[in-house]
Symmetry: C2
Subunit: 308 residues, 2 copies
């Protein structure tokens, strides 16, 4: 799957992933109204609104980007109905040949991590049959529990040709509380990054490992160091746009080959129509606003990479 | 909810939580056969088998224990159908007046953590209405992202009178890879424990905080230190039984008042009929074996606490 991701980045010339994190207040009124008209103000109604919103955005941007990243929390909060919309979104994006990164941040011990890995990336056995439950292409994983928590995911990735992005340095303001604490002269996130590189060594595609890392755009200097510590790991970079990261901050996350990083934008793309810059599209044409935002982001990254 | 948990521990005299982590190979053949007969070897069939298995165990132990802890991964691996069985199990346990600890180990940043908190402990807004999606009483949470990831959960707990158990020192063999690393002379898990105590200060019930911690029974010496660092935090203790923790290992997790800890056993209770000790019950009477295992565990902890 890492090869498919790389091929698609090269084809689209856009190391961009669209974060499908639908908040109800992003969804234009006409979509909410129609969904609530059909299903009432229910969890089912919310799920239908999310699905129609996602579908329109995916249709508008699918030819421009290699990948999408649905954030499962935004679906899970609506319970079973929300998770049905998550699955529908994953399936639809795969039909459109997009790489799907499940932003699930799961992580547990042994057999429990194995269950998460089976459910999100692999197959689960039922008697003599087996099924893929959610079937994303990549998943994000939390490293706090150490190798026991990560290995079961790696096993499934090897079997199914899937991949991981392991949290190393997250984009949020308080990520330093534990991640920046100094251990033997180096911050924890560097030790985690080193471990990610090590886990990834046995999981090589042609040029990059399918065991990647998450490093926030909001910490470009740390990104520079981590790029060096994990030369063969793809870095998923959240925090661009709405969280404050800029094109110029991103250059350090990329290798000399122009690869090695994929930058996420969620709100900045899916709710672009709410920004002054794209207000001309109006809520009616929200998906076209998203397309315009992707094109601008592509240009921003391209310019930054060319001028480094 | 922490008051209810304490009252139920005092009433049952059993600081025990039954881990409802159904693996297919735990479920007796007669239950699988019936479920597959009705729904085929499908995800729906697996979910039905899990539900019938859980229901029988809950019926057999509900009067003996204060709480249950369904591990969501074991349901999530079966996709939507599995998650329906999770919800059915949560609802049924609440009907039986059990405290339900959702072992979900979620954790993300800001609005995303808020979505998880709403979905598992709180309510989600849909137009003018609001709904509780999964509605557990407590949830387990991962601290790697720092305060930004925890605060949204705390806010919901305060509003809804629910609670958290935050991962501090997990029970698995490799938990030390990051958790034991030394920062300013103290291991990371102590710093996390100290932060849990601090987060918990503003979240007090009568004698204990509703912000608790997870510390593995497999690390009794560390449990002793953490008990001191977090005097007002309830500790959820996994790792008893199948993972190797014994009654004598548990005493340090309790305070002098005999409270402050609740010990989880999953496999050791729900698959008790597979142990030699309880083989006499046979697969047919698996739920009675679970009841016997709870009674033995209660005795084991009681003896250990009395002889300290």
């Amino acid at each position: 799957m890492i090869e498919k991701l790389i091929a698609k980045i090269q084809k689209t010339q856009a190391p961009i992933v669209v974060g499908l994190d639908p908040m109800m207040n992003y969804i234009p009124e006409q979509i909410q109204k129609k969904a609530f008209g059909e299903f009432g103000e229910t969890l089912e109604g919310a799920a239908e609104a999310i699905w129609q919103y996602n579908k329109a955005i995916v249709d508008a941007v699918a030819d421009l980007v290699p990948a999408v990243k649905p954030q499962i929390a935004m679906y899970e909060q609506f319970g079973i109905e929300g998770l049905k919309a998550f699955k529908k979104t994953v399936d639809y994006c795969k039909e459109k040949d997009l790489v799907v990164i499940g932003d699930v941040k799961r992580g547990d011990i042994g057999s429990t991590s194995a269950a998460y890995a089976a459910g999100h990336l692999g197959r689960v056995q039922v008697g003599s049959k087996s099924y893929a439950a959610f079937n994303e292409d990549f998943a994000t994983v939390n490293p706090y529990l150490g190798s026991d928590g990560i290995k079961p995911f790696i096993d499934v990735c090897r079997e199914e040709k899937k991949g991981l992005f392991i949290l190393v340095k997250t984009s949020n303001p308080s990520s330093g509380e534990f991640q920046d604490r100094i251990i033997d002269g180096r911050p924890l996130y560097e030790w985690v990054g080193q471990q990610v590189a090590k886990w990834g060594e046995d999981c090589m595609g042609e040029t990059y490992s399918y065991i990647g890392a998450v490093v926030g755009a909001t910490y470009p200097e740390m990104g520079k160091t981590l790029r060096r510590i994990m030369p063969k790991s793809f870095i998923l970079v959240p925090g661009y746009g709405a969280q404050g990261g800029k094109g110029a901050d991103l250059v350090h996350f990329f290798n000399e080959d122009g690869l090695g990083a994929i930058v996420n934008s969620s709100r900045g793309i899916i709710a672009a129509y709410k920004q002054e810059k794209y207000a001309k599209f109006g809520a009616e044409h929200f998906a076209e606003a998203s397309r315009a935002a992707v094109l601008d982001m592509k240009e921003d990254i391209k310019t930054a990479l060319e001028s480094r």
